[in-house]
Subunit: 256 residues, 2 copies
DNA sequence: CGCGATTTGTGCACGTCTTCACAAGCGCCT
DNA sequence: AGGCGCTTGTGAAGACGTGCACAAATCGCG
């Protein structure tokens, strides 16, 4: 393998860190590995095998090895992976060495919860502004931050370089908020509003819709129910529909 | 194509509705189509072309047609899809014709927001119980429901057949709650706690982790930043600025 | 010093998902 | 009635992701 360096302590700002163009599916799993690694570190483990880490992260061990191999050879054959080193590497690749500034727009039911969610501050992010369009909400203090009017977004962005915008507004307002975020230079958006956002090229949007998750579960419920209504392993060909047996045992978590 | 019937009015309970074993990727998109269709219906449209619907749902039109073809031929060539009929079909396939009962465990920051989220009640689900292990939270009323102690889960499940459990507890409590949910017969779990749940076969778990979503965005931010810092083509390494252009234009939403 | 136990990294085959491109079908207009 | 334009449904090809199985590499021990 090629020589990999530890970019964590890199003093150079725009260095050339050979960011290795990871597959999307791998990127989506890295945070999960990272969480599992932190748990292991807290428990005092210094090294971990791919088998152990994959179990903690809930994935196949071969998949985990392939994922990690994409960011370089940081394991030792016969031993496993150095927990601390791997944490450092993944955090670097994910860009978590710098605490990115997050602006949260929409301090309603959900926004309120997000503002108080410690998973944000605890995992490499800091909320720098709470914004809302409703004047009656402006001025309220949540978790040490004062809610400001959404029109102040340019001022916020000027004071502190906002990397990520979170939209927790009603669907009707989401597109307008997205436009405003893009206008002040935000290039990554996490959208909780149930609607499609249209953004210029180069801007990343991820969507989280709680109702959709429930509906997907509902489908599987429906499917399981209609299957159990069928005869077990009858011999007759008639009513047996899905030749298969195990059905789709997607006990795997997540998808997104 | 084979004859498809409208199962919406099916009187038989455990009928054999030819549930067509949809690809997971398709299932994950159906709720999005459904939302777009409701919007179109509200706007007065009676029919919609695959082009129009796919634009409203933010996907490729060919993908949409293939997705819909999996649940039967409900379009008319030269015309498009009947909005009302398609809504009925998708809701049937997703099992939304019956309002499924949801039990929410963990009424902290996030649980509070979920309890008040209208996307639940509005989209085919009804929260039938709010549960928490903290005695100081028991008794509180949220959105018309009284918070009960988690030990009452069996009583809740006995009174009303709970189809889906939502876990919004801290990570440390999540596995225990999942076990309790499984024990009372819940076979679908939506997990907001940042941890892997182990459940018996046949139980579906979907995970939503807000921190993970942010970290994925962070990766793309990091990548975009390191790319714009690179020289365009063959220039000197140092000061060259934004020679780069399109970069990774993953403007697509979600991944689920 | 050499050997065996262990674990990583990866080539390969397989299945799933996406996308293009086009024939088949439908309604409308003349 | 016939033809024309529009839209669906789908075959085929390619991209992508997954998992097996094994060679290469490392450590510890005799």
């Amino acid at each position: 393998m090629s020589q990999h360096r530890h970019p964590g302590a890199s003093g150079r700002a725009g260095a050339v860190p050979t960011l290795p163009d990871l597959p999307e599916a791998t990127v989506a799993r890295l945070p999960e590995y990272l969480r599992a690694l932190h748990n292991l570190a807290d428990a005092g483990h210094e090294t971990v095998s791919s088998e152990g880490l994959s179990a903690a992260a809930g994935v196949n061990s071969a998949k985990l090895r392939k994922d990690l191999s994409h960011l370089g050879s940081y394991g030792t054959r016969g031993v496993g992976y150095d927990v601390a080193l791997l944490i450092e590497q993944i955090e670097y690749v994910l860009g978590l060495t710098q605490r990115r500034a997050v602006a949260l727009v929409g301090v309603g039911n959900l926004g309120h919860a997000l503002a108080g969610y410690d998973g944000f501050a605890g995992r490499g992010f800091r909320i720098v502004a709470l914004l809302d369009a409703d004047p009656s909400r402006v001025g309220e203090e949540i978790n040490g931050l004062i809610v400001r009017h959404v029109d102040e977004l340019p001022a916020v962005a000027a004071a502190e370089s906002v990397a990520i915008g979170v939209i927790a507004t009603p669907a009707a307002a989401a597109q307008s908020v997205a436009d405003q975020l893009v206008a002040v230079g935000v290039t990554s958006i996490l959208n909780f509003a149930p609607c499609v956002l249209s953004v210029p090229e180069g801007v990343d949007v991820r969507k989280v819709d709680l109702a959709i998750e429930l509906q997907i579960l509902s489908f599987h419920e429906h499917r399981k129910a209609s299957l159990t209504a069928l005869p077990a392993t009858g011999g007759s060909a008639l009513t047996a529909l899905p030749g298969g047996l195990a059905t789709t045992d997607t006990q795997e978590a997540i998808g997104t």
